[in-house]
């Protein structure tokens, strides 16, 4: 996995072109011709590099999920578990601020059986970060010890994903800190500070 090199660059350009088109139109509606054109590459190059449209897409999913997982786990440190939860939420918001198209692709394709393998990595790595933080919170006694950590992790992840897209689509200039504050308030359930 050399990061530089002509081939690696071509692949990244193809990922980037594909994720934007697929976010707008969906996987099936996006043609290989269109991806190649936007990437500034000949159609044959797509097949030379990935072999098939499906392989390009699962490669894209793997790539994005890797980036996302890295961003989340880098943010999971914090004095208390609730601090860590806040900063993981912020990291997820920031990640999708930068890779908004990927957020939409993920949301749309997350539950499709066709890419189960790629999505398994999402569960293990990205949701795993939330699960870890929530387990810490249980250990610290700030949430009840019968909390279903897996479900709660999916809940928070889905909540942030939804809101990140909503902001991108409907309120692009709303500051990300404000959105974060709203989510944190919901999650901590703090009562009327008036």
């Amino acid at each position: 996995m050399k990061a530089s090199g002509r081939r690696a660059e071509t692949r990244l350009r193809l990922f980037s072109a594909a994720v934007e088109l697929i976010a707008e139109q969906g996987y099936t509606a996006t043609t290989v011709d269109a991806i190649a054109e936007r990437a500034g590459v000949a159609k044959g190059t797509v097949f030379y590099n990935f072999g098939s449209k499906e392989a390009l897409f699962t490669g894209l999913l793997d790539h994005g999920i890797g980036l996302l997982s890295g961003a989340l786990s880098g943010a999971a440190a914090g004095r208390t578990a609730l601090d860590a939860l806040d900063s993981v939420v912020m990291a997820q918001l920031r990640f999708f601020e930068e890779y908004g198209a990927f957020a939409r692709v993920l949301l749309a394709e997350m539950w499709r059986t066709a890419w189960q393998d790629a999505v398994a990595g999402l569960r293990r790595d990205a949701l795993g970060v939330y699960a870890g933080v929530l387990r810490r919170a249980v250990a610290e006694g700030v949430v009840r010890d019968d909390l279903d950590v897996e479900t709660a992790a999916a809940a928070v992840f889905g909540m942030v994903l939804t809101v990140a897209i909503e902001r991108k689509v409907l309120h692009p200039d709303r500051p990300i800190e404000r959105v974060h504050a709203t989510l944190v308030e919901l999650l901590h359930g703090r009562v009327a500070a008036g």
Copy 2:
């Protein structure tokens, strides 16, 4: 809008066939032939009834969103706003328990610009129920009065939607009450009752 009648029945059968196939394969990948076949109807009937594949789909969205909104607003009553919030969450979980395929279609297509009009109804009606309950909560002083109600509504809706699908796909026999309890615990932010 007569509820019975040959035509209305055909339309419902087509909705039902379409939502299942589209949940599995996505909108574009689902062919009109396949929808017609599953509905036990000739292909021409689809076009006789809806005029186009797209019109069938937006009709399906409208139909489902109407059912969902009805279910949610019917549950929005409650002694306190937080009680009401709990029961709206439960109503959403139950609705997607029954119409799981629709949940997946909604999640995947909610942000596609092609069906903005149909999805506007979702914002107005379904998310509106959450927004109303949250406004009550603000009025009752149980959440801070600077809460961004619109964002919070989207957050809760997305959270429940994600978890409903996760349960359908990964833990179908987990009791719905347990999932509800987890979500409510997250939302109320109750601290270690041990």
